[in-house]
């Protein structure tokens, strides 16, 4: 088994490293979950390939970019899809989440509480609601309970991380009322023994994000 070292900030606790942590946890693979304080970043930044984190060290070689890292790990550990077409579909869903993470960054970093609330409301209405409807349609079409094929892939973990572990925690489940299949999927992922083990460990070990 290779030695995996995943490097990311300690805050946000989840952020762009969480998908890789979930993939490794679901696959039952050990990894070093390295988290550093923001004050350490100026010293770490020049050592990274492109001045960003997360980065993944694999037996000393370094990979950057959150979805590249997640895809590499998913492929290595049986969570990428069962053929090349399924791999492409999983990539598509992971890219959707990547876009949604970029989009939510705007309200997330807003400091004015009134403006922040408005930005989040607009975000849920203009960006999230149509996407939820579109994904619900795809889930209905695929008709297996999973986003891709007939078993769990990193795409399902990505949607769980964003819609359950982030949006649902923040806003409650009302926004999923018209999306029973998406809700069932993220609940199913949430209930996976290895996912539960990971989130219990994470919540006990790392303090909640202050937002």
């Amino acid at each position: 088994m290779p030695v995996y070292k995943l490097h990311y900030f300690n805050n946000p606790r989840q952020g762009r490293a969480e998908l890789s942590r979930l993939i490794l946890s679901q696959a039952g693979v050990e990894f070093q979950d390295i988290r550093f304080a923001h004050c350490e970043w100026p010293a770490i930044k020049p050592t990274t390939p492109f001045g960003h984190v997360p980065i993944l060290e694999v037996d000393g070689r370094v990979l950057a970019q959150s979805n590249t890292i997640a895809r590499y790990l998913a492929k290595k550990h049986g969570l990428a899809g069962q053929d090349e077409w399924e791999e492409a579909l999983a990539d598509m869903y992971a890219d959707n989440i990547h876009d949604l993470l970029n989009a939510v960054a705007v309200p997330f970093v807003e400091k004015d509480p009134v403006k922040k609330k408005e930005l989040y409301q607009n975000f849920m209405r203009i960006t999230i609601a149509p996407h939820v409807a579109a994904v619900e349609k795809q889930l209905k079409k695929n008709n297996t309970g999973y986003l891709v094929g007939n078993q769990l892939t990193w795409a399902d973990l990505a949607y769980y991380a964003y819609f359950s572990d982030f949006l649902e925690v923040k806003f409650g489940s009302a926004f999923l009322k018209a999306a029973p299949r998406l809700k069932a999927l993220i609940d199913r992922v949430k209930a996976l023994p290895n996912v539960q083990k990971w989130t219990a460990y994470r919540d006990a070990t790392y303090p909640e994000d202050k937002e």
Binding site: P49, G51, T68, R71, Y72, E84, W85, L89, M92, N96
Partner: protein, 204 residues
């Protein structure tokens, strides 16, 4: 013989990388383009209300990088092994971030403000990236981003920096001799040259 239909605006933008992959490997495809005004007609038919979409024998795939990666892997442009494939993915992700960074510039109508945003983008985002990129190109030592031969990552850098220099001047990559050489190399590949000469002329 698989039928590919690539659906996108009549622009380069986020559709161009897939087109370059297919043209480089000389794979036939239906290059379906529509004008901006026609978008409402096609939007509802897409999986997530966005283009590009690639139909593979009628089955839809969305997301520009998922599409280009699938085509690169199907047609031998993805990298020679798992690690190289991931390295290529990483570079293409970097370009994705840069493309996103150009949006405020492209949509700014005030010329003075546009110039300001562009300068900020070049200084704070592009130039630091190019410094790192030059180091990576030197380290790899083959002229290509990944391994010993061309991958879709090289096409991605050409696809981004060629319009950038076209629009904002050669100075964008003047301080990056290895990238400059790579972009020129790609531009001179016969299949790419032929495609560029014959494709519709678009601002973006």
């Amino acid at each position: 013989m698989v039928h590919y239909k690539l659906i996108y605006f009549n622009l380069r933008g986020r559709g161009e990388l897939a087109r370059l992959v297919l043209h480089h490997q000389e794979v036939a495809f239906e290059d379906f383009r529509f004008e901006r005004e026609e978008w409402p007609k096609y939007k509802a038919g897409t999986p997530f209300g966005q283009v590009p979409v690639l139909e593979v024998d009628g089955k839809p795939l969305a997301q520009s990088n998922a599409i280009a990666r699938y085509l690169a892997r199907q047609h031998g442009l993805a990298g020679q092994n798992e690690w190289e494939q991931s390295q290529a993915d990483m570079y293409v992700d970097c370009i994705y971030d840069l493309i996103s960074g150009t949006r405020p510039i492209i949509y700014e109508t005030d010329k003075e403000k546009q110039k300001e945003i562009l300068q900020k983008f070049l200084k704070e985002t592009v130039n630091p990236h190019l410094e790192k990129l030059e180091q990576q190109l030197i380290k790899n030592g083959t002229g290509f981003l990944v391994g010993k031969s061309i991958t879709w990552a090289d096409l991605a850098y050409y696809s981004f920096f060629s319009p950038m220099t076209e629009r904002f001047g050669d100075s964008v990559i003047d301080n990056s001799p290895h990238l400059k050489k790579l972009v020129e190399h790609v531009a001179n590949i016969p299949q790419i040259k032929k495609y560029v000469e014959t494709r519709p002329k678009t601002t973006l």
